[in-house]
């Protein structure tokens, strides 16, 4: 804060107004100029270098009553995901496949722009992006969710709740969905006489034939990680906060999987055009981030065991 005030005090012919105003007022009235002053020194207002993402932490098993859950924090952005498994009858075209239903919610607690009854604009977009990304990447083999071919299969309801919205919502949501899927334990079930599937409790374990022997985990072929960047003039800002996202409009989200394939390159408009050089820079930064996130996820998985 002191550093910024000193910088503001330097004589600058074209921007005398800034030296007379308080920092907070300047930040609110001229947000773009405030940020550009920082970018010229290759730093951002919260002290991060341009290419550095915020501190990320994953906590598996946050919701004890769900079959799989994860709480993810990227800086202040907090996402809580829980997976609940229910039984459904599979469709006729694919009797061996289960189903995953992904939903993203932004409850009113997460941000001042969300009101009860008036959902945020970002919420259905992130929800659809999430479900498209996870289903088109073939990370999960739906055949693993089958119980009795043609009669019963698992429907996994994956609900992502945003508890605190501070930029990079899609990144945090994808990371928490992936972490919850890696933590998911499918319960052991048996079919009772009526043809309904019920969870095997220890007392009745002997009576029925278990459909799946013991609790198991889903195999994830290759894990997805994403990174959101902002393009502004010639700068690439990694992992924006909500303030940065609201000022600079050009966002790029890159989803890579651990085998290096590009799952999604999502750039919805924006005044800055993305040239090949910028695209390759963003992809290179994303690859580094994938390694970081992969090790964070592995560490948190080890802590659970």
């Amino acid at each position: 804060m002191e550093k910024i005030k000193k910088r503001m005090g330097l004589p600058n012919a074209s921007e005398d107004l800034s030296s007379e105003m308080e920092v907070d007022a300047f930040r609110r009235l001229f947000p773009l100029r405030y940020f550009e002053r920082h970018l010229a020194e290759s730093i951002r207002p919260d002290g991060r270098p341009l290419m550095k993402a915020r501190e990320t932490s994953i906590f598996l098993g946050a919701v004890a009553s769900a079959n799989g859950s994860a709480l993810v924090k990227i800086g202040s952005t907090t996402m809580l995901t829980a997976i609940k498994m229910e039984v459904m009858t599979p469709s006729l075209e694919s009797p061996d496949e289960g189903c995953i239903a992904i939903d993203f919610h932004m409850p009113p607690i997460c941000s001042p722009i969300v009101r009860p009854g008036r959902p945020a604009e970002a919420s259905p977009v992130v929800s659809k992006q999430l479900s498209d990304t996870i289903s088109s990447s073939k990370m999960i083999d739906l055949k693993e969710l089958s119980l009795v071919s043609g009669k019963a299969a698992w429907m996994a309801y994956l609900d992502v709740y945003c508890l605190d919205a501070d930029g990079a919502l899609f990144d945090a949501a994808l990371l928490s969905a992936v972490a919850a899927l890696s933590h998911l334990q499918i319960p052991a079930v048996a079919m009772n006489d009526d043809g309904r599937i019920i969870i095997m409790s220890d007392e009745e374990g002997q009576k029925q034939e278990p459909v799946n022997k013991e609790k198991r985990k889903l195999t994830l072929k290759s894990i997805l990680f994403s990174l959101t960047c902002i393009l502004h003039k010639n700068y690439i800002l990694v992992d924006p906060t909500s303030e940065e996202e609201s000022i600079m409009e050009t966002h790029v989200t890159i989803v890579l999987d651990t085998s290096g394939q590009l799952i999604s390159f999502y750039k919805p408009g924006g005044s800055v055009l993305a040239y090949t050089a910028a695209i390759q820079d963003c992809v290179a930064i994303s690859r580094q981030r994938v390694q970081e996130l992969k090790s964070i996820l592995e560490n948190s998985a080890m802590e659970v065991e």
């Binding site: 259905p124 659809k128 394939q261 999604s264 993305a274």
Partner: protein
């Protein structure tokens, strides 16, 4: 490698394009755009006074309403609306009429693959028809990657479902532009090489994606030629439209 397409096109060939201007008489601007069987109708109303609460009143704002052919408006429509809104905001000159809203209504007439690029092209043509000031045109193509790694342009719905991955790409296009001469070349690439919007689905390698970009750029030149020819002002003596 030989890729056999059901309708006999080569991998780089686009479907027959059809565009008509001013199809709706009461809208300030309208256009219909068809690529093969996929047809989209776009109507533009505006600029109207006032902006919505969340928008910046110092700039003109754009509102997109996407009407699907059947069914209720769900998440997919909201996502398409957002992508269209952000794409069109980047081509409009927003500082000319601040504190106004321009509404663009997109009606899907038939969906046979590459729906979003078709809608973007239709919306761009409708904006030109309405006379909204634009920095440059936006031209959209769909490129898909086959399982063997080949690139196919403008797939039909049937082809889209069988592809490993596809990408919707939007490129800027300008012959004459308001931007100064210097900025037409950015780090050795001309301005037409940058992408405004990119939406991908499915897993592909990064090299495949860069190839898609190259093919898309080549196709955008053809598309923009067609667009310009079709939106030239017609030499008729029509009475000016109301509103």
């Amino acid at each position: 490698m030989e890729i056999n397409r059901p309708d006999g096109r080569t991998p780089n060939q686009l479907r027959p394009l059809a565009c008509s201007r001013s199809v709706l008489h009461r809208a300030h601007g309208s256009a219909s755009w068809a690529q093969g069987e996929t047809k989209v109708l776009a109507a533009v109303y505006g600029p109207k006074a006032g902006t919505k609460k969340n928008e910046n009143p110092e700039k003109a704002s754009i509102e997109v309403i996407w009407k699907p052919k059947t069914g209720q408006i769900g998440k997919a429509e909201r996502e398409s609306e957002m992508i269209l809104k952000k794409t069109l905001e980047s081509i409009c000159i927003r500082t000319i009429y601040p504190n106004t809203t321009t509404s663009i209504i997109v009606q899907v007439v038939h969906d046979d693959g590459a729906l979003l690029p078709c809608a973007i092209n239709a919306a761009c043509a409708a904006l030109v028809d309405a006379g909204i000031p634009l920095k440059h045109l936006a031209v959209a193509v769909c490129c898909s990657v086959t399982d063997s790694g080949g690139i196919i342009l403008d797939p039909t719905k049937h082809e889209e479902e069988n592809m490993k991955a596809f990408a919707y790409l939007v490129f800027p296009n300008a012959i004459v532009t308001v931007l100064p001469e210097r900025s037409l070349q950015v780090s050795g690439e001309s301005i037409a090489h940058g992408i405004i919007t990119s939406v991908t689905q499915g897993a592909m390698s990064v090299d495949d994606y860069l190839h898609c970009l190259d093919r898309g750029r080549a196709a955008s030149a053809r598309l923009s030629e067609f667009l310009r020819k079709n939106i030239e002002p017609k030499p008729t003596s029509e009475a000016s439209k109301a509103g």
